[in-house]
């Protein structure tokens, strides 16, 4: 199965794991989920749309990352997934 991981579990960062699946799922575990879950989810959805990616499971373990970081980590994880065998 194709899988890609990017990021870290440091403060102000997030660890993003992307793998192929039958449908698109977004799982978010964030220390600020109670307040920013929707915002984080929107960033992920927008990025997937931009890159034309469907049918992946995205797991975000967020330690307070900003949108720019989340997007950047997701893009790297997808690139790594596509290169994986």
């Amino acid at each position: 199965m194709k899988i890609g991981i990017a990021g870290s579990k440091e403060s102000n960062d997030c660890l993003v794991t992307v793998k192929e699946s039958k449908t698109t799922n977004i799982i978010i575990d964030s220390i600020v989920a109670a307040f920013f879950y929707d915002q984080i989810k929107a960033v992920i959805e927008e990025t997937l749309k931009e890159l034309n990616i469907e049918n992946v499971t995205v797991v975000v373990e967020d330690k307070g990352a900003l949108d720019y970081t989340i997007k950047s980590r997701l893009v790297s994880a997808i690139k790594r997934m596509e290169k994986s065998v």
């Binding site: 579990k9 600020v32 330690k63």
Partner: protein
Amino acid sequence: MAKIQDKILISRELKYQEMQFLKMSFKSVISVKANIPGENKQVNISYLLTNHFKKLIPLDMVLYSEYYDGYDGPYFLIGNNLEPKEVKMRLIAIEDHHELGRFIDLDVFDGNKMISRGKMRKCFVCERDAFFCIRENRHSLEEIQKIINDKVYNYFSRVTIEIVNDSIMHELNLHPKFGLVTPYSSGSHPDMNYELMVKAKDSILPFFKKMFSVGWSTEDPQTLFASIRKIGLNAEKEMNKVTDGVNAYKGLIFNLGILVTAYSYVLYNNVSIENVFQFIKKMTSELLMDYEKPDTSFGSKAYHLYGLTGARGEAYDGFPTVQKALDYLLDLSNESKLRTLVYLISASQDTVLLKRAGSIEDYRSVKQLFKNSLKNNLVDLEELNQLCIQKKLSFGGSADLLIMTLFLKKIGLKSNIHLQDHKQ
């Protein structure tokens, strides 16, 4: 070219991979890293904080330690085989109790995650949880940076002046002291006493603080000396006011002023303190030019007649006698301090002593007495003390150098020579 934000992210990911790698060998992996917002993480304050807090990590936690530097700023990774949760608890105590703890991240990685402190940390600026302020971009970068810079400066400035005060008091409280003022004796100085010295000390402390500030904020080291010279003259004026013109610490203002300024500069600019003497040489490179000017002072006469460069020469050479004196100051016991003072008297050039001794021959023979005493393990201390008071000798210059040696010891400078021959 990747954007700086991306470079930071790459650097941070590499760090995370390095931690996972280290986790294969250690139960806990600690990361020591400054918490500095903004795109430039490689600023002076980051290095200062990282180095400062690395030294505060208890030694039982440091089985392995490695230093790294990159776009995400400098950091240490430290490995040990203690329980990660216990390690984190102890590190939280450091973060929470240190005045600058908010600006450092002491993270513990247990192989799967960074151990959480349970509660979110507060924002630098307001009382909210930090992550909310960051996400909502509530404070400007300038505002946050100013708060960090001010707090870091205030901390190091205050601690340094406390060390200055401590060092002066350690010297002043030493007894007996060959004619120097102590709590029990005015020695060879009928115009001085203990209370006067304390008053004089208090009057000059704020000027050392000003000099610290100059060292911290000056970029061009060539201009440092001229700036602090003015501050030094004002310190003298203030001292003369409270002592009615008695010169209690004029030499100290000069010597210790140079040292405090140089220390501040190397501290802020992330130069190791072992290089402070090299830096002082650079800073004072034009000092001996003073002797080229027409000058009728005794110091100038001593230079032209006997080649004695006195306090100026000691500074110009980067305080070599003080550096050697560190070898004698094994601890802060009375015995160590006395031995250090005896060494300083025997080895330093002191134009005030020359003046009081009357002739260069007498000056040299006094120095020889102290040299002998050092060799004989200070057996004749009381005798020497009586002689100095009787002859009204004064070793103010050496007392200043002792204060500087104490200062260096307290800021953590170690002697690099083992003294075999004096331990017999």
